[in-house]
């Protein structure tokens, strides 16, 4: 039925030609998908901006955050000049000064340093614990039952009351060892990490359980790879995407928890600015100076919002079923 020309075309299709496009790496695909999510792009950019800002801000804005300047106290932020030309405001202190004349902009930068440092380190610590527990219980059958019971137990602990409890109880011994600020940093980071690793552990365990039955693991084992090698070289790279997604969630919760602790008055010592601390200090004088509540609050919320959007975008970009649609 078919004529000569179409037969040649069929054979032509079967020929092994050179691929027309250069091969694309997986991360290139991920980046292309990620770029489509405008919110995620904006969130990632804002997070980068805040992180760089708090890292390098003190070099650009070199007013000490704790420097008292009692003559220039209670300045309003610069934007009040728009509707009230006689207000005490100016470019010397763009966000104004507080009741002791400390520059609020400098306090925000230093506060952001602390909040971001706590957030990042608590997130990394929680990820390490969660991944370790998840891998151990997914890969080694003997440990599975007990580790998962432990995870369930920790999940049913009342987190916020226990965090409050731990912070008030261990404040004294740790500050005498690491100094008031260092002790509080160690305490808050470890308390947040110890109470937020469970979700990561569960997700990682589920993925490891499915992955370990696949052929490539069997192949790796048959050439004599040790368990440690299999986990490091074959399993962990395959669970990196759920870990990254839960990392963003962890960063958001860590920042919020730290600010909540500072807000409730159990966080860092009083002359040590963090975003939550600035907010809670300003609540008492909210009626006269609402901007002192709004500015740190907006910064916390924007950071957390951008982290959440970043997580959303990452989830879409790292999921091969959604990618390319």
């Amino acid at each position: 039925m078919t004529d000569q020309t179409s037969e040649i075309e069929v054979f032509g299709a079967l020929q092994d030609k050179e691929p027309s496009k250069p091969p694309r790496s997986q991360w290139r695909d991920v980046w292309d998908q990620f770029r489509k999510h405008k919110g995620a792009l904006f969130g990632g950019g804002f997070l980068l901006f805040i992180t760089l800002g708090v890292l390098f801000g003190p070099y650009l804005w070199d007013i000490e955050p704790t420097k008292l300047d009692i003559r220039n106290k209670n300045w309003r932020p610069i934007y009040t000049l728009i509707w009230e030309s006689g207000a005490k405001a100016g470019w010397a202190h763009p966000f104004g000064t507080d009741q002791l004349g400390r520059d609020i902009f400098a306090q925000m930068i230093y506060g952001g340093r602390v909040s971001m440092a706590v957030g990042w380190s608590a997130m990394v610590l929680a990820l390490v614990i969660g991944t370790a527990v998840g891998v151990a219980s997914g890969y080694f059958k003997r440990m599975d039952f007990w580790l998962m019971r432990l995870t369930d137990l920790v999940l049913s602990l009342p987190i916020l009351p226990l965090v409050l409890l731990a912070v008030t109880l261990f404040r004294q011994p740790l500050s005498s060892r690491f100094g008031p600020e260092g002790g509080m940093f160690v305490l808050i980071v470890s308390v947040i990490a110890l109470t937020s690793w469970m979700q990561t552990a569960r997700i990682v365990r589920g993925d490891i359980l499915a992955l370990k039955e696949r052929e490539f693991i069997l192949a790796a084992r048959s050439i004599g790879s040790t368990s440690g090698k299999i986990i490091l070289r074959h399993l962990l790279p395959n669970v990196i995407s759920p870990i990254m997604v839960s990392a963003t969630l962890g960063l958001a919760t860590a920042i919020i928890t730290e600010s909540a602790l500072s807000f409730l008055g159990v966080g860092f010592p009083s002359d040590f600015p963090t975003w939550g601390k600035l907010l809670s200090d300003a609540v008492n004088r909210m009626q006269e100076f609402p901007e002192r509540v709004l500015l740190p609050g907006i910064l916390i919320s924007l950071t957390v919002l951008s982290v959440n959007y970043l997580g959303d975008g990452l989830r879409d970009a790292l999921d091969p079923r959604i990618r390319g649609r």
């Binding site: 049913s156 916020l160 226990l162 807000f263 809670s280 609402p290 509540v293 957390v304 919002l305 959440n308």
Partner: protein, 355 residues
């Protein structure tokens, strides 16, 4: 199903015991001394006696078992006595005296040892019962309001996927998800109490609602705390609702329902909604204890003297029995609602079999 429920109930007993042990051991490390407030003129042997009266002289494991006995045996007895003696509903029953002991010397009825707060020297559970209504009103109402707002938003934004409403709804829930309550609280106070002067910024718990004017004040002062808590609930639940509806809207049975000529409202509101509610109901049950935890901050912002505020003041005053009991009540709530969520899942979804 009954088997599963009983098994889970039995399993929750060791869980709760372990949690109580963890909390107890944490509190044992506390540096504070309940006698710190007693004047220095009080001689040390009297102080020692006072300490023993609070049950502090005994070894740690005895203290722990005593606390367990007081919490799980004596307090329920007191509660039963209260029900049969004074309560409105059950006072027709014969009066019981379960929590009373006959004193060996005088022959009179004496109350058994209950969990005593170091701060007020009165039973912890009495204070908790006084504070409970405030928390339940604010938290419970906010949860209901949050759910009532969240479900229609979730349904509509899933039905009109990628529409303007969906985009706006997703953005707003994301914002609600990200703004912590200790910022929304002061923000609302700045707007509605400071600038506009419409609502009171402090929750007055001494207010007795006996007239319309009082009811209006009560209503006005409840708006802000309820809205702050409801924002969190709404953000979470409408996200779940939307994704559950999206999962179901593309299923084959929806096409069948449309093909046989059912009205669109019936298809969406009956067939799809009922199937989508299964995961959402469990999420609602699971979120219940978390909202009690979140209420600690909101109660602090609006000065509601509920349970969360009680926990905070007890923590700062080093009132360990109170902290222990309250934290454990939170733990009971979590375990209980986890159990309820699991059972609901099994009841609502016939595909799920636990046996």
């Amino acid at each position: 199903m009954l088997n599963f429920t009983i098994r889970r109930l039995l399993l929750s007993i060791p869980t709760l015991l372990f949690i109580s042990l963890v909390i107890f051991m944490l509190l044992q490390l506390a540096p504070g001394d309940p006698m710190a407030q007693v004047p220095l003129t009080v001689p040390p042997e009297v102080k020692q006696k006072m300490r023993e009266a609070l049950g502090l002289g005994a070894p740690v494991h005895i203290q722990y078992i005593k606390w367990l006995h007081q919490f799980f045996v004596v307090e329920p007895m007191v509660f039963i006595d209260f029900l049969t003696n004074k309560s409105f509903l059950l006072s027709w029953l014969p009066d019981t005296h379960l929590s009373m002991n006959v004193d060996a010397v005088t022959g009179e009825l004496v109350q058994r040892q209950r969990v005593i707060s170091w701060q007020t020297r009165s039973p912890v559970m009495d204070i908790v019962m006084q504070r409970m209504p405030q928390t339940l009103w604010v938290v419970g109402l906010s949860y209901v309001v949050g759910i009532l707002i969240a479900i229609p938003i979730g349904i509509y934004s899933a039905y009109r996927h990628y529409s303007m409403f969906d985009q706006a709804g997703t953005f707003i829930t994301m914002v609600g998800f990200s703004i912590p309550p200790f910022f929304t609280g002061p923000l609302l106070i700045v707007i509605f109490s400071v600038s506009l002067g419409w609502l009171p910024s402090i929750y007055d718990t001494t207010l007795v609602v006996d007239s319309w004017a009082n009811f209006k004040t009560q209503f006005l002062q409840m708006i802000m705390p309820v809205m702050v808590l409801a924002l969190q609930t709404t953000a979470q639940i409408s996200r779940y609702m939307r994704s559950a509806m999206l999962d179901n809207l593309n299923q084959d049975y929806v096409r069948t329902a449309r093909a046989k000529g059912l009205k669109e409202s019936v298809v969406v509101m009956v067939h799809v909604l009922r199937n989508s509610m299964i995961p959402v109901v469990t999420v609602i049950a699971l979120g219940m204890p978390a909202i009690f935890g979140g209420a600690i901050i909101t109660e602090n912002v609006f000065k509601v003297n509920g349970i969360g505020q009680l926990l905070l003041t007890a923590l700062f005053a080093n009132d360990l029995p109170m902290v222990m009991t309250l934290t454990f009540i939170f733990a009971i709530l979590i375990v209980l609602f986890n159990l309820i969520a699991d059972i609901l899942y099994g009841v609502l979804d016939p595909r799920i079999r636990y046996d």
